[in-house]
Point group: D2
């Protein structure tokens, strides 16, 4: 897989929650969000709570540019939650930036959400039918409104909420009294806890804990509610856990290499994926080359296992951001690839193993194979450190529609022809699970079509409902 | 009164509504809002409806800078409503910009509001108690939510809404089926109707009708609902009209001189106010000088009536916007007035009648009197073309708190001493009503303390409730 | 004349110079430029000098928005010059913003310029031929470079410069040692001097002096150099004065009404222009109505002289800025005038005298006459308080090309037909001079074609040369 | 070395030049500059020439954000030059953004410059003494003015220029007739040539050639002038070549890995540097870990040579931009490192070889060693793939002042203590040259203090002269 701008899946969001008596919680949230920047670059926001009053700052942009000392200082208080939002095209709206904050009879409520509700259309319809108006097209507002219309204390409402939601959600919630971390009963998306000297931090990934000096104390378990208040952190089962279905792609692509999931360091898992791949699909070749940067650890693992030399064969332009300039046909043919350039000397005359972390649409692999050949590689063998992606994700990963997935209806041989490689191999599902050192507990629906729920029940409604409400950027 | 930046009352907003079959309604709304720019310069927005889908663009800034062909073209459809928001300091928030738009089970709903609800705290509490969450601190969201939770068709809900609201409101409302204009039963704030060849326009002032080629067809009467849909315009009484209480200050200061209220041209009323003032408080003087620009018509009337020559004695810097540069004490003493400069030749050796439209805090009058004296005026007689303002407004005009009003507890003689004039006279209440050619139908509470409702019932709650919810700009 | 956005001439710039021992000169310059905002709204800049080091801040925008305490505080020192630049379309460039600052062997040099050099193409060619490179297309850079390549001390170089320049120039110049004010030998554009307690101010208009607490001490006379340094202010004749040719349009339109030129208050002159007009072209009418705001004093004078009542008949939208939204043909026909609206009640059934300060292209007069008729005026008699403009200006006023001037080749009767008035009269040249209380000393070339120099010698070259160098905004 | 934000040298700029008959040269320049983004992120600009008229767009920001289709389309013509400017703190000014463009008697002249002139103060003084004014503090303006005041055709003037300049310069120059590439006689900074089907490209690095479809045809040799016009590309020796002194740091750090210098692929050189380092300073260790990303190829080489496993031990936050939020002392102590995070599993219990490309101030190495130890590394041996940097650079690399260089006056053992490593070794000068496969031709002054010229002759003047001229951002 070659990166966000090309053939990568997209995920929606990172979350954080902080309760730190006597300290400026928003500042801690800032550094946490900064560390979670890879989970969302479109927009960011922090809501803090200072003696019952909620303060909020949200805006499009990177964490480092949205916040400054001026606005951060307005976010007073010992409690804060925050959110990074992934870049999606078109439907962006200032109103959709999280956290969402609302005033209720029981005080202000703030929610940050990572995931995707598969029963959002149903919930949406039901709320509307019950006379609730909705100001955005986001799942998060559904969560907010379900909490608002609930009864009992916040903990009771969160329990009721969990009974209603279907799909993926890792939430941080802030009320006047407490900060909560909530994770869906299958644990699709990550959510971890850390301990400060005198406080707690909830975050999407453990890398955000270590950066702010919090020691990892465990995951919020599937179906669990973590509640942090002046009395300390308490954990309770908010909903009965279902069969664990943690997103394999967190290991394969999304998470930062220095994050741990389920006790495993992501970087180590990626190296093991590469090692397994080398065992399953060894190659008679001269060098192992990664698709940078996401394929690097896998390639290192492949090289170590196969005792082939590891080297860079492609360079990625670090500063490529969005550019609105189109190359002419002439420039396109000349190879204005913009994102990658080959390292001819490293591949010239060589038989190359090109290791990628995954292939989604397959739009990048072909050009990369061609690029390596033109740079002198005599053979290019593509090795992909996960199985073929055959089915779309409904749990918060914006991969592609089924008919856009190159492996949805093609055998490997055909994909190999399509991308022009000398050989192509994917890691097997079993091999992947061995690298994960697990036999169960993961959602592999994108590889198997075996969803943890029945997608037919939900997907149908989706298209109709969201289109009723459109708004233009700037609002 | 000397203008928005100094000693002027502030009002909140102008509204517009358009239904124009076969035409681009948002474009018409744009030109209407442009004409209503004097009613609000902080922010502006338009929501349009195109075959059931609502499009929205809102942003801080002037109408001419917020909208461009790109974003206007996204606002498709034959129906549109729009809003201009007045500049207030501090509590500004992107979320408070109108129109507010919400999705309901009966389709999208958009609302634009001019006025102030005196029972907002009660409504707020009640909505919250009924399990409705609120995302802003604005009256408009209360109106939106009361409509959402209502039952029956939109017309029925608007009727129910009107039964609940207390205070000032002129609304434009847009649903999938129709555009509505709604005015409170006392008719505090203006709302007029106009006819296009094949459509209708609702607007805060008639000047916005003529600019878009709509012919004035009448006011939306107090308590009335105007409903525009493909079948035409229908009017019905949504709430029983109460004693009419149209804001006198629309004539005195707010409205554009080319607007008509109650059949009277604002400019003509202002001239008559000046004439009456000359009858009541004639002056043995040489020239009549206005406080520009808002006092000009009154001064013209005063001069005509008293047969004294009219001339300019003060120049106002047209380009003065907000500046953040502070003069030093030295510069301040030297008279960095910034906003006004005297025309020495016109006042030197003269006995001057200085005609102002009103005095609120009295902070500008003193410096102007001093400025004229320093420029050579031998006498300065201040004449104010309305009565002393003694009481605050709770119906949408941000005048000042009672203890900031210079006339709240001072006799005229004391104010005269305070501002250093040779004499000071205010127009009497009776004189003002004669100039308005009316004996009744106006809200004069700011001159009399005689409110159309009992303020004690409402005002108490106000301070407590709004502070529960704070957010910073940028959200 | 109806205002900058319509049928008005355009001028380029206002200048200021400050030397104030022990004080923050840039702050004084700021308030002066703020007062001179009407002379240029495109861009502004201040250069200050602090113990030999020059600091500079320039940017597009209004004075109040370009400067803030942060950037103003960097403009340290007791000496400063500043500039406001008029808005012109298209050829704008950040590089053309003044003051221009350059380092020379004799220290830094800063120049701000108001006017237009008629021999710019010759000077440009000569400098280029002498091996000087030019980075902008502005006259100001020519002045800067002529000073740089000069010999002797700065005073000597300024004298040499003056011998080379032909046309209009009022300059403020700053070097390490002194601040200078320089005015061309004919005194086309204004430049005045004022005294602070312990310093001096040079400015385009006297209104800028009074605002910063400086007392007017006189004009920089044609051909004179004012030099301000720690030793005080000295005046010397830098070039022999030629026949004085002060721009009449400063009185007619450009200058602020509270400014004095040649001892006369601009506002008073404008009233006298109206009075003379009433003597020369009396009208059997009911009311006198100005084209606001620039025609107001003239209309007041006309009304006083003719003993007809003065009233407003047209309202001007104060907030009209640039808008990029085009009205449809339908809206245009409906009268989306945007800038003016009629006051029907004041003109209905009346015979109206419409007083304008001038007519340039004649594009506004017709629509205004039509607007008044549609509002009910039974007769509209247009009276213009200056003679017909028949010839273009080459001395810094961007009026129009000769073939765009409506009076360049049409008799008054034809113009009257063209604008649809019942009658049309212009003030005579003699009448205008009487109102100016002068028999000589003014440049009336735009009324007479009698230029103070031979335009044929210069104009030819102009078009060719400037086009060699184009750059886009953003640079 | 750990990256631009920490302990890295800084270089000033990348340049490009394009001549492409029948094509849009600026578009090609855009893609070239985009590829050269790593050489400068502060600002960028392109000047194009269309039938004798030069068009220019320059602004602060990244290439992808400064240019859009609108402004690019104004940059018409078959010829273009462009520039990327490095981020430096404080002295930034819009006026210093390149290319610099000036009009001369022989038509417009545009210049883009990479390098640093050591005799700039002398040239500056001389130009000033000759009556030339200077508008910026940049070397580039000196070059422009020396060309302007020159005699003969442009080629002759460039020759004369080269005779005057001392120091580092790789220039692209555009006149009406031709595009030039010019390189100083020692060839300090790179400049290469490429061939389009029907045109030519000059660029700082070969990676920019391949991206736009140009085939590399060679370097512009030291002292050479490349001239491209409708007649084709001609090369001539503009100044006698001196002893070649190509900047070693282009190989060590600056250039993109896919660039070739002197026939060597930068990435391959970096791997060889790592291999040599492993030969000279082998380590009894368990893993080889790079300081990412600049140390990666060196670490790969070290691992291959030493047959130790290569792995990542540190993760670098890709999205770290400038942030203005300061961590509290508490957060700092907790390790808010922001830029790097350790990969505990990969180093725990391991003896680690940490490979860095270079050490400048030594501010990053200590924290990284500590971070690895805290993550569980039992030993940390630092290996640096170049010699100790002992002396500052005067040829365009902003490394540091001598007293800021950690190796300027400390033996290796002391640096080792300072950074807390178990051992520390630098590559020897000989080893580095062997990796470069060269015995001569490089400037190693920063390692040896042996400058290709006598720095005493130049450095003295520098401080005095530049301070005479200061300006604030925004100009």
């Amino acid at each position: 897989m070659s990166g966000p701008a090309t053939d990568a899946p997209r995920e929606e969001c990172g979350v954080i929650g902080v309760y730190a008596p006597g300290r400026h919680a928003a500042r801690i949230a800032f550094f946490g969000l900064h560390t979670l920047q890879h989970r969302g670059q479109e927009a960011t926001g922090i809501a803090s709570c200072d003696r019952g009053t909620v303060h909020l700052h949200r805006a499009p942009g990177l964490v480092g540019s949205v916040f400054n000392e001026d606005n951060l200082s307005t976010l007073a208080g010992e409690a804060a939650i925050g959110h990074n939002r992934y870049s999606t095209t078109g439907a962006s709206s200032v109103r959709n930036i999280q956290p969402q904050v609302i005033e209720t009879i029981d005080g202000p409520l703030a929610v940050a959400h990572n995931g995707n509700l598969v029963n959002a259309p149903q919930l949406r319809r039901e709320l509307l039918e019950n006379g609730v108006g909705l100001q955005t097209s986001s799942d998060t507002e559904l969560i907010v409104q379900l909490l608002v219309v609930g009864t009992g204390d916040w903990l009771a409402r969160i329990r009721t909420l969990m009974a209603r939601l279907e799909g993926a959600y890792s939430l941080t919630i802030m009320t006047r009294e407490a900060v909560y971390g909530v994770r869906d009963p299958r644990g699709f998306r990550p959510l971890v806890m850390g301990r400060l000297d005198d406080g707690w931090v909830l975050a999407s990934e453990s890398c955000a804990l270590s950066v702010v000096g919090a020691s990892f104390t465990g995951e919020v378990a599937p179906g669990q509610i973590a509640r942090i208040d002046p009395g300390g952190m308490t954990l309770e089962q908010g909903a009965p856990p279902l069969r664990r279905a943690f997103c394999t792609f967190e290991h394969i692509y999304f998470s930062r290499p220095d994050t741990h999931h389920g006790g495993s360091l992501v970087h180590a898992v990626r190296q093991r994926l590469g090692r397994r791949l080398a065992m399953e699909a060894p190659t008679d070749a001269d060098v192992v080359v990664p698709v940078p940067d996401s394929g690097n650890p896998q390639a290192v693992g492949y090289a170590q296992q196969s005792a082939l030399p590891y080297t860079d064969g492609l360079i990625k332009n670090r500063y490529v951001g969005r550019t609105f300039i189109e190359p002419t046909q002439e420039l396109r043919e000349a190879g204005v690839a913009m994102k990658f350039n080959p390292l001819g000397d490293n591949v010239k005359g060589k038989r190359v193993v090109l290791v990628d972390d995954s292939i989604v649409r397959g739009t990048t692999s072909g050009p990369l194979v061609r690029m390596l050949r033109e740079a002198g590689a005599v053979e290019v063998h593509v090795r992909v450190a996960c199985p073929p992606i055959t089915d779309p994700c409904y749990m918060g990963v914006d991969m592609a529609a089924k008919d856009e997935l190159i492996a949805s209806d093609r055998p490997v041989s055909e994909i190999c022809d399509h991308i022009g490689a000398d050989s192509l191999a994917f890691l097997s599902l079993e091999g992947m699970m061995q690298a994960l050192e697990a036999s169960d507990g993961y959602c592999n629906a994108c590889f198997t079509g075996d969803y943890p729920f029945e997608p037919e029940r939900f997907v149908q409604l989706e298209l109709g409902s969201k289109n009723q409400f459109a708004s233009v950027w700037g609002d």
